[in-house]
Structure formats: C-alpha cells, structure tokens
Amino acid sequence: MQNDPTLDVNLTRALDESKRLADSIRPGSDRWDVIVVGSGAAGGMAAFQLAMAGVKVLLLEAGRMIDVRTEYRTMEWPYASMRRNRLPPGERPIDVAEYSFLDRPYGSNPAFEKHKKVLSYAANRFTRNWVVDERQHPTTGTPYAWVRSRILGGKTNFWGRGALRYGPLQFNAASRDGFDVDWPISYDDVKPYYDKVDVLLGCSGTIEGLMQVPDGVFQRPSKLNCVEVAFKRAVAKMGRHYIPGRAGVTTDGVLNNKYRARCAGRGRCGRGCDIQAAFHSPTALIYPARDSGNLTVRPYSIVSEVLVGEASNRASGVRVIDANTREVMDFKAPVLVLGAGTLDTTRILLNSRSSAHPGGLGNSSGLLGCYLSEHIMGIRGSGYIPARIGTEATLDDGRPVAPYVPRFRNVTDRHPDFIRGYHFQGGGGCAEFPGMAHDIPGYGKAFKSNVRKYYPAIISLGGFGEVLARKENRVALDPAVKDAWGIPVLRFDYRFGDNELKMAKDMADSIEEMLTAAHAEDIKIEREPLPPGWSIHEIGTARMGDDPRTSVTDRYCRLHDAKNVYIADAAPFVCGGTQNTTWSILAMAWRTMDYLKERLRAGDA
C-alpha cells in the first residue's frame, strides 16, 4: 500500500476471480475443440469468432483477469495524488536513452538495483499493473523496446486506438517497387473482414477515397480543432491530406454488446475507457464470447511450447506453466490458435523443439523469427499556429485520436532516396498538460502569461515509417538466458537500415516544410528516431506465403509444418506499411477463424 488513492487500486475482485479460474480449470477438467493462446486483439477475436460459432474454446492468458470497473480510471485528475503521474518509489520505467545505452537484459543493470520492478516505457500510473516486469521477462541482443502486457485483454487495455487498414500499397508492395515479395493475398481478400470489424467494434473516420489508406464502414468522425484546420488548409495547397484520425472507438454505439457505450468525448482513452467506447478486448470480445457458454478462460497460464502429437505434422496441445504455482500442465485439443503477440507467438514456436522439428515448430524453412518489422518513429515537429496565439482555451482534445497525414511518398510518384513511405499522426490545441511550457524561457509573470498565450496554439506531429522486412532483422532463442519461469528468452538482432534512415531524414524535412507552410512560429524539429520497437507495431516473424520453403504459414495463417496450428496475431504479416497494426490483426484473425470454422464443419481441421 502506498497510501495513495491513485496507486492503491483494489484488485481483490480480479485476483479472486483469477485464482478461482486457475484452480478449477485443469487438464481434463473439460473437453475443448480449440485452444487459443493470448487474449488481446488476436486471441480475443479468435476466441470470439469460434465461441460464437458454437466451438468449445479454452483461452489461455498468461496474466490475470482484469476488473475493468476499478482498473480503468478514465477521468481521474493528476492532482488526485500529490505524487501526480509518478510511479511509486520501487517501480521504474526504462527511459528513452537507457534503451539504447544500457546493456541487455535491461532489468539486470546496476542502474535499477534499488528498484523492485523495472518496467517498459509504456508504464504509467494507469498501466503499471498491466505491463510486465523486465526482470521477469528479459531480452538479449540489440536494443529493443518491447512492450508486453500480461493481463486479460493484453495491450488493447491501453492501445493507441489508431484503426487504419492496409491497402493495395501493402499487399502488393513488391510488385510496385521490386523489394521482397507480395503478400500471398490481396486487399480484396481482407476487405470484407475489415468491413465486418468496423461494424462489430465501431470505427470512427471519414470517407476520403485515398488508395494509400482505404476507407471503411465509419461511424461519426472526430472533428479538427482550430490549429488543425489551419494546418490542413496549408498542407492542402501542397497536395497533402490531413484528415480526422481513424479510431477503433464507437462514436455511434455498437449493436449486440451490452458492455459498451458510445464515446462521450472525454479524451484520455489510453488508460482504459471506463464506458468501453474504445475497443478493449475484454468487453468487446471476451465477455460476450464467455456469455455464449462456449468459452473457458484460464488466467495465469504461461504457454512454454506447443506439443507435437504422434503425427509429426500435427500439434496435440500446449505445455502450460502456472504463473503462480509453477505447476506444469499439458492442455490438449484438436486445434491450436496462437495469439500471444507477434514476438511471443514466435518465441513459443521456436521453443517447441522436438526430434521432428529441431529448430522449433514451423521452422522447416529456417525463417521462423526472421523478417521482424515495425515502424521507425520519433521524428517529429512542432510549432505555434498564429491564429490561436493569445486566445482563450477551447475544448480541443475531447476525441479518441488526433488527426493524421496519410502517406504521400511513393504513392503516385517515386522518391529518389527511398522506397515505401511514412505518415504523420498528431494534432494540437489545448491539452490537459501544457508540455510546451518546458520550452518557454524565463520565469515569473512573463513566463506564466507566455505559457497561457501559446498554450492553445501548439501543434505537434510525429512520423511512422515502414521498416523494410529484411531477413537479417530477426529474433532467436537466447542459448543461455531464461525468463522467471525457465523459458528461453528472445535475442534480438534488429537494426534500422539505410532505407529507414533516408526516410527518417525526409520525414524531418517534410514536417518542417508543412509547419512552415502553416506559418507556424518557433518550429522545432526532432530528427533522431526513437529506439527500435517503440512503435509496438511488431510484425512478420512467421511470414505467410504459398511456398513452404520461403514462408512459415500458408495464406490462412496456418503453419506449413503443422496443419492444426494457426496464428491469429501479426506474426504472419509480410509487410506493414505505415499503418498502426491492431485493426489488421482483428481483420486477419477473423478471416483465419472463418477458414478454421469451415475446416471444422468439414471435419478436416
């Protein structure tokens, strides 16, 4: 207990429920048709699709259950505690510079000796009970800011809500610029699933007719605030778009879900939306699936490996280590769906070593763990829009996401320095905390009045650039280091390449160009990228393809090497454009489950 109401959150209900479920659900305590591993966007959608179709599902979550009624504290003010936004003394997030300069594993550094828990940069007073302790979950190799969350719903409890679709520029990227290979499927294969996800979960946005980011079935869009309108008008003259952000948040309400209400424009969705307008896997997918009577959820279930059956091309179940008791249990089912997140799914498969699969299950191509990709970010620009300097505050942040500049490089033209592209996300106006105050010089009444003078005028945008899927960017099992449960950890071998760095330079130049066009004052440009992994958009380490020699899964995200093992997360994605990943995970997971349901109906799963 910290004697701090913002930190002493009552978890009794969630912990009691977790214990009850973990105690009662045992191997053989029931029969399941399918085991799903992970409960975030991927596992949540997989479990929902199957359970709603009458399939008996066992969902294994490595963390505990969540009590969304007490743990989502959407409207809590920072002054609820004199500690404000700081974590309690024993807990410490890794900061930006430390990711690059401290040795791995991060948690073992002397810098953290005095801390009980070392957390990723995503830890704050709202997420601190959800993100993992780096000491229990080490990584080795090159720097990588790997954000993991072991709790029902995973990272969807605090995700950024950017709900963008991949389009032809992603599925057919190689055909356009000759780099790497196309996806084995096209946008037309996935479009119906994006549409269904939009309708099921709710997606706010505007119809724009842009091929670089296809339109969806949108609910009421966000509006731009004053500084954003000024920016939009300026960049329109350059032929660029600045459009309302597309958010995985229901602004008009969704049908058939009693847990969710529509958006009430309060902002601060990233700490969990307590009216469930934002998509969070527990209330949007898992609770409704459980209500069907077909879903069993077992928390505290850390999957260490997939077990291979008598036929070497079929899995028989998974080995589970109970996170609390450390008891080892083998759960069996005819079909497995892995949705532990791109990198943890890959780790489970790499660790599933047998005489028939010495390099891990699904690794006959030798490519499992290769082609790790995400987004290079951190390049950003800010400035003050003259029309709002010196005006009174307006309500500028009551919406689920900020607007966005869709990709404009290599869409219709060809950039001389790099292939693929980037987009910018960000907006401005009055926020709860005036971060710009740190850049206002001086002290006293002049300082104070300058803060409020420039406060409504700030605009700030950051880039997200495609990291090319390259074979040499990869993860493997570390031969020596193990996590707190004795499971080998991932060793990263991942770096930004020449294309990314040239793209980053152009990002910085173009944001400066756009802010200048908007007549912004005091323009500041950050040219250094954030550490690898920062985007939390990791994809690609079990890539899909039609040829088992050059890919890990088939076009339905099923392992070439094990016909009853499917992947629901982003590990099979071939390339990821500039788009935030979650909406594609949801659409692809739905598509994969439709295929699996067909196989089950045909008795051929």
Binding site: Y79, L224, A437, G444, P456
Partner: protein
C-alpha cells in the same frame, strides 16, 4: 467533539463540503478531519518528508518566483508545488536529493553574499535580481546555480500544471467531461470560427 472551538460540522464547513465529503473521507478520525480542515484553511504544508523547515521556505519562495500569483490565478506556492517537490525528493535517489539540497543552499549563499539576507527573506526586487542572474543561460546552463534553476523550473512546471489551480484556474482547461459531441473548430460545421478567426471558406 471540541477542539479549539471547532467541531466536526464546523470543520466540514471550513472544507466547503458537507455530508458527502465526510462519507468520502471515512478513514479520517474527527481529529484527522480537523487537521485536514486546518491544512486546507491555512494552506499549511503537511508533515515534511525530506526538506527542513528552512529549506522548504526557500523552495516555496523559489517556485512562487518561477510561477507567481497574478490577476488570473494563484501561483506555485498556493498550488503547493513545494509539497509536491518534497514528496518527489523523498522518493528519488539520494544523489538527486543532495543536488536539490545543494541548490537550495547555493541560493541562500547567493542571497546572503549579494543582499545579506537568506533567500526566503529577499525583497521583491532582490529576488528578481537573483532570478535574472540564474536564468540567464537557461538553454545551456554554465554554473551550478544556473543548472539548479533549470531543474527547479522543470519540476515547478510539472507540479503546477498538474495541480487543480494550474489546470482549472490558470489554463482553464475544458476537457475531461462528458460531451454530446466534440465540437472542434467551428469551420468544421460550416461557420466562421470565433476562437481562431478562420473563415468557413478557406482562401
């Protein structure tokens, strides 16, 4: 219960609250409630955690010089930024705490050598003279006092603009409330916008 003439009801009244607030503070005994009421009333700091009385007094003067009271809203002292920093220093590593102790002592030394009084007792003009000196190279501080100014200013900004005074009275932040719909710039609704002066029809 009586204590210096104030009973529980009067204490609640002093808090500007009624039965509801008492129900929300169930852990407070009558004595605790009275102490709480006095803190609210007098703005007296709670028990200090790290700083001595005189260090605290120096710090209060410093943060209030960085963000003072003006016509619009109270300053950092009333927003209890010094309490925020005291708690902060009780939880950071010892080196950071010692750096703050050193900074506060250096402020006193500067005040004494220039004006022959401790920092907390400087007149307004004297205080301003010292602040001017130590904020001179804010972008690239050269001396220990210049460095301390930057550290103290950043902490003051964090403490002040996360306080109720900073958010509601100074910035007049309007978010974090239930809306029927987010309004945005009024040009978005086909009107000229009174907040930014932009016309519905872009030039």
């Amino acid at each position: 219960m009586h204590d210096g003439g104030i009973n529980r009801r009067q204490a609640l009244k002093a808090l500007g609250t009624g039965i509801g607030a008492a129900a929300a503070l169930p852990w407070l005994s009558d004595g605790g409630l009275l102490a709480f009421a006095r803190i609210q009333e007098t703005n007296a700091p709670p028990q200090l955690k790290v700083l001595s009385r005189s260090q605290f007094a120096t710090l209060e003067v410093l943060v209030d010089a960085i963000i003072p009271t003006d016509d619009r809203s109270p300053g950092a002292k009333q927003a209890r930024v010094a309490d925020y920093i005291d708690l902060l220093l009780s939880e950071v590593d010892r080196e950071t705490t010692l750096a703050w102790f050193g900074g506060l002592a250096a402020l006193d030394a500067e005040a004494t050598s220039r004006f022959r009084v401790p920092f907390a007792r400087l007149g307004a003009g004297q205080l301003d003279a010292i602040l001017q000196t130590i904020s001179r190279n804010e972008r690239a501080p050269q001396t220990p006092l210049e460095t301390f100014f930057v550290i103290a200013k950043q902490a003051t900004i964090r403490g002040y603009y996360t306080s109720s005074i900073g958010i509601h009275e100074e910035l007049r932040y309007k978010g974090n409330q239930f809306l029927r719909e987010f309004a945005g710039c009024q040009t978005e609704d086909g009107q000229d916008c009174p907040h930014c002066g932009q016309k519905h029809h872009a030039e």
